[in-house]
């Protein structure tokens, strides 16, 4: 549904401060996929996702949404933004309304929908992210960090996008808040069956959730494939300043020490099953 064809982006093109941010990035995002994007700070992943909903115009290459070039004269990027929902990093800093409900309604009301529909969508979205009715009339500024962030996600979700892109949704939260967010994302997947793109620093989270992993480095796509396959390259990932989950190293080290495992693991659950099997414990 979203297709990036050799997208290039250069910051401040034509000035002395020119800086390449993306180089020949070609990615296809299909319906219903759960994709993770990893890369260290400055690898171009934030720039990349701002291309997906037309917030940034590529300096080279094309982006197609359902077969149409999003930078065509008669293509409405405003509408595209309701189809490709983008949740920025630290999204709680975009909250501005007096109540939680009103803030979530901002997105759908910009779509000029009837009042009732707007309200309905806000309710549904808040329910999906697990914000109870008792908080609808509370000021968003009085919520906890995890709650604020879920409200902000609901604000994007209320536009009923077909793709939702989340830029490091768990950054800066404690384990509790992080689990709340990940649970909410899981809910979104379950209830809406939409495509989810998750940008993350946490390899553990990525390994646990996403099916496909894209690794960015210096503005290029380094790896793109099923999560487990990508983590097979943990040594190369390390070279570009990234890491694999701890259990990946753990299982790799065990293999090196002669324990006959079928391969590396990416989640604790998987490692546990492997080790149980190899020791013969039921």
């Amino acid at each position: 549904m979203l297709y990036l064809d050799k997208v290039n982006y250069i910051y401040q093109k034509g000035t002395a401060m020119e800086m390449p941010a993306l180089h020949d990035v070609s990615i296809e995002i299909r319906d219903g996929e759960f994709i993770g994007i990893i890369g260290h700070t400055g690898s171009g992943k934030s720039t990349l996702i701002q291309h997906l909903n037309g917030l940034v115009r590529p300096t080279g290459g094309n982006i197609y949404y359902n077969g149409r070039d999003i930078w065509d004269e008669d293509f409405s990027r405003k509408e595209l933004r309701t189809k490709v929902g983008l949740v920025f990093q630290y999204p709680e800093y975009q909250l501005f309304e007096t109540t939680v409900e009103k803030d979530v309604e901002f997105g759908p009301s910009n779509m000029k929908l009837p009042k009732l529909e707007v309200q309905l969508r806000a309710f549904e979205a808040l329910k999906t992210v697990g914000i109870g009715e008792d908080l609808y009339d509370v000021s968003p500024f009085d919520l906890s960090g995890g709650q604020k962030r879920r409200v902000a996600i609901a604000g994007v979700l209320a536009m009923k996008p077909e793709v939702i892109v989340l830029d490091e949704p768990t950054a800066g939260l404690d384990p509790c808040g992080r689990d709340e967010i990940l649970e909410a994302i899981d809910h979104i997947r379950e209830e809406r069956k939409i495509t989810v793109v998750l940008v993350s620093h946490s390899m553990e989270d990525v390994a646990r959730f996403v099916d496909r992993l894209i690794v960015m480095d210096h503005g290029c796509v380094r790896f793109d494939g099923p999560t487990k396959e990508v983590f097979q390259n943990y040594e190369e990932l390390e070279k570009i300043g990234l890491a694999a989950p701890q259990v990946t190293y753990l299982t790799a080290a065990l293999i090196k020490r002669g324990i006959p495992l079928p391969g590396i693991a990416t989640t604790v659950e998987e490692a546990r099953e492997m080790l149980k099997a190899v020791t013969g414990v039921k």
């Binding site: 260290h40 700070t41 400055g42 906890s144 960090g145 950054a171 800066g172 939260l173 404690d174 384990p175 509790c176 808040g177 620093h201 553990e204 300043g241 990234l242 890491a243 989950p245 701890q246 259990v247 190293y249 753990l250 080290a253 065990l254 020490r257 002669g258 324990i259 604790v268 490692a271 546990r272 080790l275 149980k276 190899v278 020791t279 414990v281």
Partner: protein, 284 residues
Amino acid sequence: MIKASKLAYEYIRRDEEGNVEGIVRAIDGIDLDIKKGDFVAILGHNGSGKSTVAKEINAILEPTEGVLFVNGFDTSKEENIWNIRQSAGMVFQNPDNQLVASVVEEDVAFGPENLGVPTDDIIKRVAFALEKVGMTAYRTSSPNHLSGGQKQRIAIAGILAMKPKCIVLDEPTAMLDPNGRKEVIATIHELNKKEGITILLITHYMDEVVDCDKVIVMDNGKIVMHGTPREIFSRPEEVKKHKLDLPQATELAYELRKDGLDLPEGVLSVNEFVDAFVSEYGKK
């Protein structure tokens, strides 16, 4: 270095009209005894009271009950404030919101300037502090051009230039990427080992506390667990109950022990796990 006895802090929560809604006991009678040169971690989820402890130690907040001594100074006495803040420097979470100057070396000089240190000495201290955090090359840069981890190291240098005996870091890595986190943690370990500075690291990342001397777990304003990292990690169920995470190696060992595998308690790292597993189940 830091000694607290029955320390408590309460604040009054008010609603929009300013009516009293209730009294919140952010810290509820804690005892602390941190020795010189220790590397202590305080763990806890948000709202567990761990940041309030940091603010108490820096005399930003005054104790409601109990006493707190920092480097021998009573924090409830107004006249001790500057001595306390000089001896127990504080690094905050947001790297942007604690740097004052738009040139790195001028920011590092900010603390000593406030203390009235003579110019020649400031220059020496700034050079020393920047060298200790490995940021000498960025002396004349603007903080705006640095990464999060680098900015936090500048913040640490800014404290270091005040020649403190102790540094309190309040979730210094929460807003950083994995590389930034590594840089900052490595820096403070180095300061602890080479300069003998007492470190109090407040965090919610379990993997950062593995190399500490002592771990304190807080929940609901109280100290609920304390001991060496190994002691803490040997009680995974309790750790989880206080809404904290375990490093994957620890978690895996714990799960496998439950499954009946013969692995030691309180596994801290990948290497420990691998050694233990191979010696038990490897080819004899």
